[in-house]
Amino acid sequence: MSMAPEHAPTMARLSLAQRLAPWMPVLLVPLLVLAGLLAIPNTSSWLTLTVSGLAMGMMIFLMASGLTLVFGLMDVINFGHGAFVSVGAFVGVSVLLLLGGMTGAPSLALNLAAMGLAVIGAMLATGAMGWAFEKVIVEPVYGHHLKQILVTMGGLIVVEQLIIVLWGPEEIYISRPEALKGAITFAGAALEKYRLVAVGLGLVVFAAMRWTLRRTKIGLIVRAGVENGEMVQALGYRLRLVFVGVFIAGSALAGLGGVMWGLYQEVVSAHMGNQAMILIFIVVIIGGLGSVEGCFIGALLVGLMQNYVAFLEPKVALISNIGLMVAILMWRPMGMIPVVKAK
């Protein structure tokens, strides 16, 4: 390197396209928001829809993050993931119904406390369920994708039926806590209070996940494990325990998503997990299996797309998301932020 000090090799400098490439996925979000602004004539409607879209995106992110992390780390595809969403929703709603006093009061603090308890209840239930699911259903079929798909689908069916056994076949209607009902007006647009809370919560969880993955040792182990599980074990870490931990965390997150989703729609049913799975799959595919950031961006895109298109042409809403998925796969077949796997 000291041989020719005047010589500055230019091959090290990347072209603009190459330097922009890692940022493209993030840029897609503001791009879509802008497109929405152009397509929707009324600015205040656009603002309402954007907040709604972001809120929906956050909730889908919560539900989808567990799935993508589990696949990235354990190479396990869990088609039964929707079951955790449903169970979380039902447990959360049951807790909220029990705490009717707290949710009925017009105090924001009490309402949030009630929601917090519901969320904790849901996460505990789905976390425990996740542990059992992993032990009984998933662990025996490590490494066999086809069997995983079949068995986890079977698990989904069984859990859905068990929900009906425990809670009955009817849908349960739930209204949002008092202080979170209604909307605030901002720049002429009506922004539902609950949706703002959802957006806030989503950001907090995303930040927490990123922090855990990037700044803690366990996060390091997970990220390294996603790349090369064998080497992580050769360093001395019991990857199996990490697997179970991530699976439980993923299930708990799905449960959290389920509670938020249930309150968003103000109704819970045994099939809601299944219905959410379509959007969850689209998000996970768009984001790239194993990438939390990709999942976040993908979820925001899907949420925004769903809300914008539903306003413009309701029948085409779901198809538009399929179209988004196809477009992104044509651009990057492994998803926006694919995780590079060793071998």
Binding site: L220, R223, A224, E227, N228
Partner: protein, 240 residues
């Protein structure tokens, strides 16, 4: 000679339906460097992977300091003090050099004296401390791979072809680091195709063929006997 730190007795390992190791008997003396030599495909890498537990030996025994580690799970073997440097280096490309090292320091934060020693042995690692490991050159990745094993004190190092495909300047850096490890009293089992490195570093040598050890003894024996080299490996060390 004191008892060996590692002993393999009649180890058989299969991969799917392929019988790779067919009764390996091997001893790694304490505090010395043992070279594992042989042509491509004879089972050298499989031997190392069987020791660290990535592949299970279905017959025979592997003893680490007298402890039977044949069926131990890999993480436990690693924690028992075995450092593994695989053939493909196994570095985590998405993590920074720092993160790779922090991860390798299983027991806690990295000992600063030890880190200084690593930086001395491999200066580029200090330069690229905060860079993603995937951006390193081949030689630098290899340095990182060994540095990871070095970051904590280990009883035994299993190193698989650390100098493969590297420029001569980097090879000498590598050899120097391994020599320093040896000076610290570590025991090393080293698979190496570069005979000048093997000759310079090895105290004893084991030659493999067809999944079995066909010769083992002192390195100087092998080095001085060209006919023996020819017989064992089909070519002499001088040719390289």
């Amino acid at each position: 000679m004191s008892d060996p730190i590692l002993r393999l007795e009649g180890v058989y390992t299969n991969i799917a339906q392929y019988h790779i190791l067919q009764g390996v008997d091997l001893e790694v003396p304490r505090g010395a460097v043992t070279m594992l030599l042989g042509r491509n495909g004879v089972g050298k890498t499989t031997t190392l992977r069987s020791i660290i537990g990535h592949w299970r030996a279905h017959q025979g025994r592997i003893l680490l300091d007298g402890q039977d580690i044949t069926r131990m799970p890999t993480p436990a073997i690693a924690r028992a003090g075995v450092g593994f440097v695989p053939e493909d280096m196994g570095i985590f490309a998405n993590l920074t050099v720092e993160e790779n090292m922090v991860l390798a320091a299983v027991s806690g934060p990295i000992d600063s004296a030890r880190l200084d020693w690593v930086f001395q042995a491999f200066p580029p690692l200090k330069t690229f401390w905060k860079s993603e490991a995937g951006n390193l050159s081949g030689g630098q990745k290899q340095m990182l791979s060994i540095a990871r094993a070095m970051v904590e004190e280990r009883r035994l190092y299993l190193i698989d072809e650390p100098t493969k495909g590297l420029a001569p300047a980097i090879v000498s850096t590598m050899a120097r680091a391994l020599r320093e490890l040896k000076a610290q009293g570590a025991s090393i089992l080293l698979v190496e195709q570069n005979f000048s490195v093997a000759r310079a570093l090895g105290d004893s040598a084991c030659v493999m063929d067809d999944g079995r050890i066909i010769w083992s003894g002192e390195m100087r024996e092998l080095v001085t006997d060209a006919a023996l080299q020819e017989r064992l490996m089909g070519l002499s060390m001088e040719a390289h």
